[in-house]
């Protein structure tokens, strides 16, 4: 609850600072503010509270994920300073939109009522539409915004329909009541249709096959920082919310439903990885890689009772690696018209540290030990074997193999090609974000239990 208030307050503060004409202070202040928020959030850990007639519920799940979101938010805001250097006058808009989006994200994992969930997801989505299309003069950005917007609203309609049907079946939006009712009463069919529609909406948000088509286009067209945001924060938020919806409403009851999730999971992994192999643009490649990671994260739903910690861990590992990777991508594609892999040629020679960070990030995504991505995959495998879904595990294994192919393409470019241009100065924050994110990644890779056991 406090987190939500603090973030919203920060967002408003940003706008006020612009009015007060202290633009330079916006980013540092926001970062400090978010660090404070992180403190507040962590302080809530262990408590179970509900606010506003159960609209907002704070528990380990919401606190852990909120903390993760805030951390990601800090990184993303830290990267903003340099990224928007040509649009200094609008910096407050960009920062505050990000903060509102963060608020939406926190709302999504803390909801106790479906209306809160709906508001959260819409706040998040609308902010993303704006950010995606934020380069007004760039047709690619426009196109990305348009595609995201159209498909997103379409998905919103379906989510809304789903909520409506659930309401129709249950007569309430409160998920505690709903979950009690699901256990007891004879349920009308609407309820399940509602759950399915809601699920489809969430599958769209996490970009799972076959609802993933927007992802590569939007990732490619959006400003790179927005892509970073979508591929890390937005995806993780959507996945956490999806998880929370299904567990909160006690809805994941039928075997057939799990089959659907399983098929989508395998399809996402496969399509994502296979498509990523042949992408020239690293943003597009990461988009498809994101699709495959969505497939991996969906595996947690197959063992839904016990895999919250696994999901948190996977999300953290994936998002931290993503942030680290994007920090480097941002540096490399600065002042570039595209994000093709050849831009990375020779980075290992000109900027060994950055190259090392990107390598580590990609290795983490590929699931190589000591990086967190490895343990994340391992935890997923274990939990799915426990649930008896060996076939998914095998599919995941095969997909991990494919994924190495494209991750290593970038690594190869960095280390075996000759650099095409001279060194450019590296903004300090890019360095800092990249290194810190990857160190965090390695840290939780070495001590997975620190994260995985946060949610019992």
């Amino acid at each position: 609850m406090n987190t939500l208030l603090a973030i919203t307050g920060l967002g408003v503060l940003c706008l006020l600072l612009e009015i007060a004409n202290v633009r330079k202070a916006i980013i540092p202040l926001t970062i400090v503010g978010l660090l404070g928020t992180l403190g507040i959030t962590v302080a809530d850990y262990g408590k179970v509270e509900s606010h506003y007639s159960n609209m907002i519920v704070t528990n380990d799940f919401s606190v852990s994920f909120s903390a993760l979101f805030v951390v990601l938010g800090i990184f993303l805001i830290a990267l903003s300073g340099d990224f928007y250097r040509d649009a200094q006058t609008k910096i407050s808009d960009f920062v505050s939109i990000k903060l509102f989006m963060l608020a939406g994200a926190v709302a999504m994992v803390s909801f106790g009522n479906l209306s809160m969930f709906f508001l959260g997801i819409e706040v998040l989505s609308i902010s993303l539409y704006i950010l995606a299309a934020s380069q007004r003069l760039n047709i690619r950005s426009n196109e990305a915004g348009m595609k995201y917007f159209l498909l997103g609203s379409f998905a919103s309609g379906i989510i809304l329909f789903g909520i409506c049907l659930i309401y129709g079946a249950m007569g309430t939006f409160d998920i505690v009541e709903i979950s009690e009712l699901t256990g007891s009463a004879e349920l009308p069919d609407w309820f399940f249709i509602g759950i399915v529609l809601l699920s489809i909406g969430m599958l769209f948000k996490i970009a799972a096959v076959p609802f993933h088509f927007w992802a590569p286009d939007v990732y490619e067209g959006s400003p790179t920082l927005t892509t970073a945001l979508m591929s890390t924060l937005a995806k993780v938020v959507a996945m956490a919310t999806f998880y929370k919806l299904l567990t909160g409403m006690n809805a994941n009851i039928y075997y057939e439903y799990e089959i659907v999730i399983m098929v989508i999971s395998i399809a996402s992994m496969t399509v994502g990885n296979v498509m990523a192999l042949r992408q020239a643009s690293i943003k597009r490649m990461l988009a498809f890689s994101g699709v495959s990671h969505a497939g991996f994260m969906l595996m947690t739903l197959l063992n839904i009772k016990t895999s919250a910690g696994t999901l948190l861990y996977y999300a953290s590992a994936y998002a931290l690696a993503g942030i680290a990777a994007f920090a480097i991508v941002l540096y490399v594609t600065r002042n570039k018209s595209n994000e093709d892999t050849y831009n990375f040629n020779g980075l290992g020679k000109t900027r060994p540290v950055l190259a090392a960070v990107l390598t580590a990030a990609l290795l983490s995504m590929a699931g190589i030990p000591v990086f967190a991505g490895f343990f994340a995959k391992f935890a997923l495998f274990t939990s799915n074997i426990q649930a008896g879904y060996l076939i998914v595990v095998i599919a995941a294994v095969i997909n991990s193999i494919i994924s190495v192919g494209y991750y290593f393409k970038v690594i190869l470019a960095m280390y075996t090609q000759e650099p095409t241009e001279d060194k450019k100065p590296v903004p300090f924050l890019f360095y800092a974000v990249g290194v810190v994110a990857i160190l965090l990644n390695i840290a939780i890779g070495l001590y997975p239990s620190a994260v995985i056991n946060l949610i019992k």
Binding site: K377, V393, V404, T416
Partner: protein, 478 residues
């Protein structure tokens, strides 16, 4: 003192070397020798009956231990690693290495990962080390390798993806085992009562990892290309130590955990191994590239070692371990010989060699000794291993020994043919300086080891036998 000291030394060496600039080679060598000394101290502790194992909880949930086990088998493999490591580092001193700090640092890191693989007693930890070993060699081969860059990339990436692919199936196997046992300690995993079918799948999953790593045919296609493209130090690391990771793992993990499968499909895997022996020997016969030829000879040897391991007899396993160690030394020596030639002729093409013996008698003698050791001439270490393995095969079925034994004929054929084409004949037009002191010392050390243990393998035998007995007890009891 416990076994973690070696890992700490190697890891510290990695970091120190990384920041030691021009003198990286010497620093790395110092750390290599230090770790060798540490291993020897550990060995004496072990022989004195002191416990050198490490068992600490790494994390509670999931239950993962930082468990290192220094039993005879692990110690033998550790000693192989730590004694080859300084040799390999020292062997590079004669050639120019660009960016030495990264190079030597990666070598030490690889040593660290491989030593960890040999010591780990927790499956999870083991897997981490197993995978970690892949990364340094990937970069070593990529950045310091030779030949056309595109071809090299292709070979190295294929190698990485291929081995990684195999390992992931093993990881899935471990995940499955974990859900059964609740932790990864090798002892507990071996005590699981898995059903026959479970064992079969676990065995297969592990086999995917090991068959590619060892490699057994037909999973060997990465090998020759990578050996050829990698810098010689990398090839030495790969062939001398890394191959043995797969073989060691068969003994340590695969057999005790899936004994039923091991027994039920023994013949199949023996045939795999023996077929590899014959196949490797035949393909080696007509290779044009010296390093590729040695790669196929490696394929032939490991096939026989694998066959020995899969016999599930004390003799077979013991022979396999002896052969692993001896092969480690001899193949490093042979690759070094190839490097010595490369330093002078800038080629690995056998057709451009010949007529070296006249100019370099010392080198010829040492090379010949290595060739003979590789074809398992009695009094060399390799004979002890090969004899023991073949004997074990003969106790299973005499035909295995006969067909596997063809390796002593074919091996002599391709090695002597190679030796003849490379060294003998009319004096080569290009001058060939005889060995430098550094090169001579490198080869002499290897040769010394081969002869000493060829005549007196008892210390190693005594070291490894109890562990092997224990492993086989696990394997054969059910």
């Amino acid at each position: 003192m416990d076994v973690s000291i070696v890992l700490i030394l190697l890891l510290a060496g990695t970091l120190v070397t990384l920041f030691s600039g021009k003198s990286a080679g010497k620093v790395a060598l110092a750390f290599g020798i230090l770790s060798l000394v540490a291993s020897i101290v550990l060995l004496s502790d072990y022989n004195a009956g002191k416990s050198i194992n490490v068992l600490a909880t790494w994390m509670e949930n999931p239950q993962i231990y930082f468990a290192l086990n220094g039993d005879g088998l692990s110690l033998a493999m550790l000693l192989l690693t730590t004694s080859l490591l300084p040799i390999i580092i020292y062997s590079t001193f004669g050639s120019e290495v660009k960016n030495p700090s990264s190079f030597y640092s990666l070598i030490l890191f690889m040593g660290f990962a491989m030593a960890g693989t040999f010591l780990a007693a927790d499956g999870f930890l083991y897997y981490i080390f197993w995978e970690l070993a892949l990364i340094p060699i990937y970069f070593i081969a990529l950045n310091w390798g030779n030949g056309d860059a595109k071809e090299r990339q292709k070979a190295v990436v294929k190698f990485f993806i291929y081995t990684f692919a195999g390992s992931l199936f093993m990881l899935a196997g471990f995940a499955y085992l974990y859900t059964k046992a609740g932790n990864f300690l090798v002892g507990n995993l071996s005590n699981l009562r898995l059903s026959d079918q479970e064992q079969f799948w676990i065995f297969l999953g592990f086999f995917a990892a090991y068959a590619i790593k060892i490699p057994l045919i037909p999973f060997h296609t990465w090998q020759a290309a990578v050996y050829q493209k990698a810098p010689t130090a990398g090839t030495m690391l790969l062939s001398g130590i890394m191959l043995k990771m797969g073989l060691y793992s068969v003994l340590r993990w695969q057999l005790p955990i899936a004994p039923y499968a091991a027994k039920a499909f023994m013949a199949t895997f023996l045939i795999f191994g023996i077929a590899g022996t014959i196949y490797g020997s035949i393909v080696a016969l007509r290779q044009k590239d010296l390093k590729k030829l040695l790669a196929y000879s490696s394929l032939a040897h490991v096939g026989l070692i694998a066959a020995g391991a899969y016999t599930l007899t004390v003799d077979g396993v013991r022979g396999a371990v002896l052969q692993m160690i001896s092969h480690g030394f001899v193949i490093v020596g042979l690759f070094f010989a190839a490097e010595v030639i490369y330093r002078r002729y800038q080629t690995r093409d056998i057709s451009q060699m010949g007529g070296i013996r006249v100019q370099a008698p010392k080198f010829t003698s040492m090379f010949l000794i290595l060739v003979l050791a590789s074809v398992a001439l009695p009094t060399t270490f390799n004979f002890v291993g090969e004899f023991t393995v073949l004997y074990a095969l003969s106790t299973i079925d005499i035909w295995f020994a006969i067909i596997g034994g063809l390796t002593i004929i074919l091996g002599a054929y391709y090695m002597l043919k190679m030796f003849q084409n490379v060294m003998l004949g009319e004096t080569n037009a290009k001058p060939f300086a005889d060995l430098t002191f550094q090169e001579g010392l490198t080869m002499a050390v290897i040769i010394g080891v081969l002869f000493f243990f060829g005549m007196y393998p008892k210390p190693i035998n005594d070291l490894i036998t109890p562990s092997i007995q224990q492993i086989l007890n696990y394997t054969l009891k059910s």
